[in-house]
Symmetry: C2
DNA sequence: TCAGTAACAGTAATTATTACTGATTATAAT
DNA sequence: ATTATAATCAGTAATAATTACTGTTACTGA
């Protein structure tokens, strides 16, 4: 529904997610943008992140606190249990055969999958 | 730390998760048990679910609302975007080679991974 | 130029989860 | 058995994440 108008804030929010690799939360986006955009509201960040996901410009990563990603092509992720950082795993390419296999064996209509690794990241490993 | 004592409530909560396939949230466990255990408190459910995860009797699935699973061996899951139900995908077996590959290419210490499918479940498909 | 409405900032409300508090109760040593 | 200790409880308050509401601002198209 609802025709979408241009919005300075939405542009800001989208580019903030596009210009980082940290898979930010709504709060992180807000904190990043607030100093240079003092009028920006946290509600606006949430609202626009949801719109950007709805239109396909971002994806939503279902960690227990939601994170957002401007790399909309399917790819794997790694969560460091020590520091909480989220990294892309680029060298494991998306395998559509898994979706077919899951669909065949379960009977559900499988649209896609996400692959989440976890452990301890390089940074945290060095600090030990 | 703290020595663990027997607790009727913890037994209840563990068996509730063990006797269902629905990967319940804390709230679902509470709602299920409350009628026959009117004195049960929601805080008790949260506290014991966390303990049971800590001791390895349950696993925690990091959806945006946390879910719990008594099948602690690694296995894949399917989320229906229509009805929100979570199903096990049993016929895609856990592939430890993926962890090795991710670790080699990223440099992170990879402990494990989770594979989340999503789409529309059989039940919801039939209703269309 | 102005009526209609998308989007905004600010704030209230809702949900999910954890922390606190004083009362119970499992356990183990008397 | 009695009692001492502290784990656990129920109930509730607090915190954190997210969404909804409200009055105002600012595009847009007739
Ligand atoms: Mn990513
Ligand atoms: Mn499962
Ligand atoms: Zn780390
Ligand atoms: Zn369904």
């Amino acid at each position: 529904m609802a025709i979408k108008r241009f919005s300075k804030q939405r542009e800001l929010i989208l580019s903030a997610v596009m210009n980082t690799t940290e898979h930010p939360t709504a709060e992180m986006v807000y904190t990043r943008l607030k100093p240079e955009n003092p009028a920006l509201s946290l509600g606006t960040v949430y609202r626009n992140l949801n719109q950007l996901v709805a239109e396909g410009s971002l994806i939503r990563l279902p960690f227990t606190v939601e994170r957002f990603d401007a790399t909309t092509a399917p790819h794997a992720h790694f969560l460091c249990r020590e520091c909480g950082k989220v990294y892309d795993i680029m060298d494991i390419c998306y395998d559509p055969a898994l979706d077919d296999k899951a669909q065949l064996s379960s009977g559900h209509v499988v649209k896609q999958h996400e692959l989440f690794f976890d452990g301890t990241c390089v940074n945290c490993t060095e600090k030990m």
